[in-house]
Symmetry: C2
Subunit: 414 residues, 2 copies
């Protein structure tokens, strides 16, 4: 698996992240920092902690899979931010942190007395980072947003689905994770600047704004045609490019499709397709020999590919097309991906041990650093690392730690 | 607009990026680095440059909108990498670079003689970064991949669309831009490590692997139910959570929908919904009073919301729901987003001037650093910055520059 990482340690070793994120957008951001070696301490309320622990859950008492997938490699400490002692403790931790991340509802962190001005005065080197649903200064500034709302409000939904059908949300939670990734980039850029200036900064990103970034293919189509980019099913938002799309393969199950793409910049792709599908007789046929001609005959071309695809299963089709130099890939479902041992062998998915959930497999950080991915460890139980964090960050010994702990746990019960 | 940025300059000022990316995945990565202040030099072949310049184009000779949106704030120099002089020049630039990025087809950069071993020997501090379609060591390692293939092969397509219907690709190009963002994170983490170690590193990410990261909501559903996550239209992949979804608003156009979400962790949301839709009579009704009850009566609940939505346009609905503390957002198309001046006012979209395309508006980097987004400049024309780059990076004076330039331009014509 991952023989992490090399003799030089993890890239962000020594960086401390005070993590007041919850659910996914903020949690995904700080998880990446943890995977890359930062010491990420999740500060959670003692009454159940991050509500993500209880999101999309089964009947067990264990933390949700949702939580486990977005909080690996972190530590957890419970602190009641609404108590004076808890607030003081969070400030003490902030004084030692390099990065702070929160994604509460608008105004919450400021009302807790932990706004950017407060923490940056305590620690001018702090990179104070916020995620909200809509931008400051927008009409919806105070509106609560969750993933699918950000997708809808930034046009992603409008270009997903079929012409004549309704807009369709992306199954994946890009509104959350996608925003978290952009914030992580800005955080690391700010960290680089801080090495030169000694100053932290205040980062702020709205989910709707972040989704515009991911929708630039829509905006390029908008610029090209001067009107709203449309839904085109499994074709390209940017324009017709046959053959391009999904073709149903035997045994014709819900996900038995092969995705085929041909580059308009490489005319060879079309010739190769004709060879693979056994229609070399059509090489040079003027109905298909130029990009413009293929656009005109898109329906016929789709029929040609569909006829061929129906005689193969999707993995056969992938192999036949791919090995002939045609961009292609089988549609896979999560079960197939989960079962594919190659992801484990390459360290892309890894097994972790969790005291409640046992041993399970999850995706980690997919970028290889010097040939290996970083090693994943299971998400913390609520408050699991309180002693260690207080000792590491504040230098509190066992006794002091116990005292402080009972103090804020007591406050939590008020 | 953006009064960038503050007296301390841009976060990545002084960082040099040798950019041999093309199309979108690599280009999106280096564009972010450019927006954040890095000096990004795009090395392009003299025969047309990045093929993205001609992708999804109109009939004009101008660079495509697609290219303009993914290559802002960069510089361009044309070099024929296949000529000995061109190759030597690229190596000279690599010796001065902090970061190198490429996303050619598998094996191309190595065959050019610019593989990681070569450039890292020339410059041990170099962060050498590659994007491929499928991972090294996977069965599809040599297969060409474009955006929609990565989406399909990583399960994103399998969970987008309606039950009973085909899988649907995300309209947005997450396979490309999403991968580029993950690479940018690893690049900046490597930059941080380099400040401590003095060593660069070799980064490698595959689009399919990167898409697993974005599909973690699918894998959490997989773990929860022990079977493939299914397509659920505009509901949640993780599980039913009514009311949740898109509701058609007057005047019932293709994108006249309001997206409504209620958090299962906040029972107040449902009460607020009932008040806004004028059905306070149903507050406390046992058919809807718990999450479990609402799941059981999801169809009725959708009818209640739909009936109300049909009497409002989507922006009215957004305002009424949002101001009542209910997470909600209107589906917007790219034309509406393009027309919304608020994005300009906040520096999220910006106007740039381009010698061929004139003045146009595009999305920039959405994260505010100390209250402002960074300033956008139009993408370079092919080879536009050759003299400046040679002077800045290699210290070549006007005469030397001219000599070197004629040399590699000559080679390009072979």
């Amino acid at each position: 698996m991952s023989n992490e990482t090399n003799s030089r340690g993890l890239p962000l070793a020594g960086i401390r992240v005070l993590d007041m994120s919850q659910y996914e957008a903020g949690a995904a951001c700080t998880e990446v920092l943890a995977w890359l070696g930062a010491d990420v301490v999740k500060v959670e309320n003692p009454k159940g902690g991050d509500p993500g622990r209880r999101s999309y859950k089964d009947e067990s008492d264990a933390d949700s899979w949702y939580f486990l997938l977005f909080n690996a490699n972190k530590k957890s400490i419970t602190i009641d931010a609404k108590s004076p002692d808890g607030l003081a403790l969070i400030k003490s931790l902030a004084a030692k942190a390099d990065i702070f991340v929160e994604n509460f509802a608008p105004g919450v962190i400021e009302r807790l007395g932990l706004g950017p001005d407060v923490l940056r005065e305590i620690n001018p080197r702090l990179i104070y980072s916020q995620i909200k649903g809509f931008g400051r200064g927008s009409a919806n500034e105070q509106t609560l947003a969750f993933d699918m709302i950000a997708q809808a409000a930034a046009g992603l939904t409008s270009i997903t689905g079929f012409a004549g059908g309704p807009p369709v949300r992306l199954g994946v939670t890009l509104g959350d994770t996608g925003t978290g990734m952009l914030l992580a980039i800005s955080i690391l850029a700010a960290l680089h600047r801080r090495a030169n200036t000694g100053h932290g900064e205040h980062l702020h990103v709205a989910m709707q704004d972040a989704m515009l970034h991911y929708n630039r293919i829509g905006f390029s189509a908008q610029a090209l045609r001067g009107k709203a980019a449309a839904r085109v099913g499994n074709k390209l938002v940017s324009g017709a490019n046959p053959p391009c799309g999904l073709y149903h393969c035997k045994p014709f199950g819900a996900n038995d499709y092969i995705c085929v793409y041909t580059s308009h910049n490489n005319p060879d792709h079309w010739r190769r397709v004709l060879e693979v599908i056994g229609r070399s007789d059509l090489i040079g046929d003027p109905r298909y020999s130029t990009h413009a001609a293929r656009v005109e005959h898109e329906a016929e071309i789709d029929d040609l590919i569909s006829t061929w695809a129906a005689h193969h299963d999707k993995y056969e089709a992938e192999k036949l097309l791919g090995s002939a130099g045609i961009p292609a890939g089988a549609v896979r479902d999560t079960q197939e991906l989960h079962n594919d041992a190659n992801f484990e062998q390459r360290g892309i998915m890894q097994w972790v041990d969790h005291p409640q959930r046992g041993r399970f497999k999850m995706p980690g950080w997919p970028v290889q650093h010097d040939g290996a991915t970083t090693e994943i460890h299971a998400a913390p139980l609520l408050g699991e690392n309180a002693d260690a964090v207080l000792a590491d960050w504040l230098g509190a010994g066992p006794n002091e730690t116990a005292a402080e702990e009972s103090q804020y746990e007591g406050d939590a019960k008020q």
